[in-house]
């Protein structure tokens, strides 16, 4: 499947109807999701026939993409039942048999049971703004404990140095695969501009 085909496909994925500010809900745009997934699949072969986890799956655009690319099973984790409802609808519409979802608080998960179980973890975690300070790193820590091979994630470019330090502390290799511009449309009333570009790193983490 070509990247453009994947992107067209992901444009069919329904997104949040009423995004929740406190949970930092923004949909992952089909273009960005397609770029991520295409690279993970073609450059690293970390999706097809693999056990994949999607932390903070939201409406499931990354999970749907992973399933379409042939993941053995993709398990999406999210705290919000409204998002999971939309995710379920997407899974039905795409008629996908290889996605499960679990409602839970990723930050409260007990690592041991999931320890290194997943081949690959993919995610677009909350950036950790406003009331969620530090959440991006909590997600990353959990992802690393759950993964056997690699974690693919999006983080604000402005936090790159900070993340690199943490990666060193955790003895994890970090590779910035691409710098992306994440355009967030005005989804909340307090957003004054019609859209804002945030510079985002698409990063691959793996154990040293």
């Amino acid at each position: 499947m070509k990247r453009k085909e994947l992107e067209s496909c992901l444009q069919q994925v329904d997104v949040f109807e009423k995004p929740k500010l406190l949970l930092e809900q923004y949909p992952t745009r089909p273009h960005i999701a397609a770029c991520m997934l295409y690279t993970i699949h073609n450059s690293f072969d970390d999706i097809e026939d693999k056990l994949v986890a999607d932390l903070g799956c939201g409406c499931g655009v990354l999970s749907v993409g992973a399933a379409v690319l042939g993941a053995g099973l993709c398990v999406g984790f999210d705290i919000d039942e409204d998002a999971l409802e939309i995710c379920s609808r997407n899974i039905e519409e795409f008629d996908l048999k290889n996605i499960d979802t679990v409602q839970c608080d990723v930050c409260a998960l007990v690592p041991e049971r999931f320890s290194n179980k997943f081949d690959t973890v993919i995610m677009n975690p909350p950036f950790g703004t406003k009331h969620n300070k530090g959440m991006d790193m909590q997600f990353l820590k959990m992802a690393l404990s759950m993964s056997q091979t690699a974690v693919y994630s999006l983080h604000k470019s402005s936090t790159r140095e900070h993340i690199q330090k943490k990666a060193d502390d955790w003895n994890v290799k970090m590779e910035v695969i691409a710098e992306l511009k994440y355009d967030l449309p005005a989804s909340y009333k307090f957003h004054k501009k019609t859209s804002v570009d945030i510079e985002v790193d698409f990063i691959r983490f793996c154990l040293k």
């Binding site: 053995g72 379920s88 899974i91 048999k97 499960d100 007990v110």
Partner: protein, 131 residues
């Protein structure tokens, strides 16, 4: 609009879930009480199944399948040369990926706390007093 068939929780996913209610030291395995189970068709991939076996708790899978009435003739003990037996791998594939719980709950073996499964999605969120 097509009739929606509900989503499901596969036994591969169940195999990894734990209860972490405050004070619980052994919240695994979760007992499945299913009121609605569905069988589905998933493409068989022997390599994937073979790789999943070392990741799972075999006895927990057997127990879960048995509880749901879908153990069939899956052996309770893992045969030593399972990678080379397609017949065996197909049986494992069926139980891991094709038996799905739509409605029911998962019960913590220590605290008795029940985590509901609704439309195939297990809800593992704890209340404030359980954290």
């Amino acid at each position: 609009m097509l009739l929606l068939s509900y989503l499901r929780m596969k036994l591969l996913t169940h195999n990894m879930l734990t209860s972490h209610v405050k004070g619980v030291t052994k919240g695994y395995p979760l007992l499945i009480k299913a009121t609605e189970v569905k069988l589905t068709d998933v493409d068989f991939n022997s390599e994937f199944v073979s790789r999943m076996i070392p990741k799972i708790e075999w006895s927990v899978l057997v127990e879960a399948a048995d509880t749901l009435g879908h153990l069939n003739d899956l052996p309770r003990d893992l045969p030593p040369d399972y990678e080379s037996s397609e017949d065996f791998l197909r049986k494992v594939h069926h139980v891991l990926l094709e038996v799905e719980v739509l409605e029911g709950n998962l019960k913590c073996p220590e605290s008795g706390r029940e985590f509901p499964i609704t439309k195939g999605v297990p809800n593992m969120l704890l209340n404030e007093d359980e954290v």
